[in-house]
């Protein structure tokens, strides 16, 4: 990883005696999508607010492009685009006018504004409704308008708090696609979400939060190896055939076979056993309908990690 864009060291936030964020340390590299993931109330939003200087830091340091958000807020805010959790706009103004206002706050002149706003709205697919009042916009359109603001700003890093929250699956897939396309333009992205599985596909690296602390950090594959002990998961769907489960379990390298539904098997194994599994199904006289290799799911990693913790504590 070349350059560090965001750096948090021992970042802590106290509310009275309770610690909402407890000594969090992480860094986001240039051009990376970094996910702050964890259940509601884990401290993700509070961490983001401290990075932006929107709340005081109780202890530790935060640096954005080397600037301290408390002492040099303007330097930080010039380079960072922020999409708050459930972003709001002025409902009585049009989408374009809302962006004009923020663009003027950024100090853009009229000509640049016109061009950038049109381009940004086109980018997020809102050109058609540029002159409609935001009051009529759906949740997904508001989120996209928020992204348009970040695009317009030419932000070097985008901080997105729960960007897919409250969106239907289609809208959230589209939004994640937009986020990915931001990355291809060299924007570094820090995003938070409590929907682990939904965002795991876009994140290069993730930090899993629990009760104000980062419990796990790394790429999804690394975390999978670390918590699930490596290994692969192969899913088989077949019709007919007898004793398939038994045949699959007998394969060398198989650790376990589950049957979550009739005609579906999930094999945990040491290597990619798709070929062998297909052969066994056919040999048992079944018809193979589907065969897939699963990435470990973050949800599973998270849950499994805490089961492990529980056992350790109990012991």
């Amino acid at each position: 990883m070349s350059e560090t864009v965001i750096e948090a060291k021992g970042l802590t936030k106290r509310y009275g005696r309770a610690k909402a964020v407890d000594s969090v340390t992480f860094s986001v590299g240039a051009g990376e999508i970094f996910g702050l993931l964890g259940p509601n109330g884990a401290g993700k939003t509070t961490t983001i607010l401290m990075l932006l200087g929107l709340t005081d830091i109780s202890a530790g340091t935060a640096r954005v492009f080397g600037h301290d958000p408390m002492r040099e807020p303007l330097a930080v805010k010039r380079r960072v685009g922020y999409l708050p959790d459930t972003v709001g706009f002025y409902d009585n103004l049009t989408a374009a006018d809302n962006l004009h206002y923020t663009a003027r706050l950024m100090g853009m002149d009229l000509k640049t504004r016109g061009q950038k706003i049109a381009a940004a709205l086109a980018r997020v697919g809102l050109s058609e409704v540029a002159n409609k009042k935001v009051g009529t916009f759906s949740r997904g359109m508001r989120q996209r308008l928020g992204l348009a603001e970040i695009v317009m700003k030419d932000a070097r890093v985008a901080i997105l708090d729960e960007p897919t929250n409250g969106l239907d699956p289609q809208a959230s897939i589209e939004l994640l696609e937009l986020i990915r396309s931001l990355k291809t333009q060299g924007v570094s992205i820090l995003l938070s979400s409590h929907l682990l599985d939904r965002v795991q596909t876009v994140c290069d690296r993730v930090a899993l939060f629990n009760a104000g602390r980062i419990v796990l950090m790394g790429t999804v594959a690394e975390l999978g190896r670390q918590v699930l002990g490596g290994g692969f998961a192969v899913e088989v769907e077949a019709m007919g055939g007898a004793g398939i489960a038994g045949r699959l379990s007998a394969l060398p390298g198989v650790r376990s076979v589950e049957e979550p539904a009739a005609g579906r098997w999930r094999i945990a194994c040491d290597r990619d056993l798709r070929g062998e599994a297909a052969a066994e199904v056919v040999a048992a006289g079944g018809r193979l309908n589907q065969l897939s290799l699963d990435q470990p799911s973050l949800e599973t990693i998270y849950t499994r990690y805490f089961q492990g913790e529980g056992v350790r504590h109990a012991a």
Binding site: L49, R71, G107
Partner: protein
Amino acid sequence: MRREGSPWQGLGVVTLKELSDHFTSARMRVLEWLVVLVALAAVYGAIQQIRDVTAEDPFLFLRLFTTAREPLPSFVSFLSFLVPLMAIGLGFDAVNGEHSRRTLSRILSQPIYRDALLFGKFLAALGTLSVSLIALWLLVIGLGLITLGVPPGGEEMARAFIFLLVTIAYAGVWLALAMLFSVVFRSAATAALVTLGIWLFLTVIWPALAPAIAQAVVPPDNQEALLVTAQMLTRLSPSTLFGECVLALLNPTTRTLGPVYLSQLQGAVMGAPLPLWDSVMVAWPQIVGLIAATILLFVGGYVAFQRQEVRA
């Protein structure tokens, strides 16, 4: 701690946006109607009375502002309760409104200081109030010209103009108070209620309560101290200060606003009007008091806003 960049960056942008919001809002429509109705009612009432009573008065025009005719109050009494209502109406949701629209954190993540947002909102609301008050003032003077048929003298106009400025300062106090509570309370309804409560207390209850408090703390044999204390206490209310300013400015025979001492009466012809500048000096402490209260309340709101967590 030195901060980089100007604290006023974005001030003009915020002020213009807020001004345009105010001028297109439904509240402004209400204000405009109030202005017209108040001007008509006040002039109508005053004209009748002035025609009946005052034949020869060097300050005939100023009577337009101060004369009441039952059951209508005079123009200045109209103003003394209309102005706080207008100011509170424009200020009570200044900051918490941005919060509930969830726009605050988006705006504050732009490269501006919070100073610019708060001060811009204050300037825009004060500008809106000033425009309404100037319109009202012009309307009353215009109606006066038509109905009285005599033009006002230069000194009368000067007094009326200073009175207008004082009214704007009076509006500033209530605006700053409303904005302070719009920072402190997350709910706009709570902020409005608390501000209105304080206004009622200071305007209606406090003038009655102050003498009672004075009696409780000052030994009863010292009449003078009692009077002075009571008066000092009532002056904690901006409404009292405004009333005293009005008295000094629009009633040129007013020589003093405190208890009268013999020394002040020496050489004075009772009933003779003071020159303009002397009248302003009589009201000067009150005028400064109004401006100082505005600044103090604004700074209070500013301090509260600086340290506030902005969670969308």
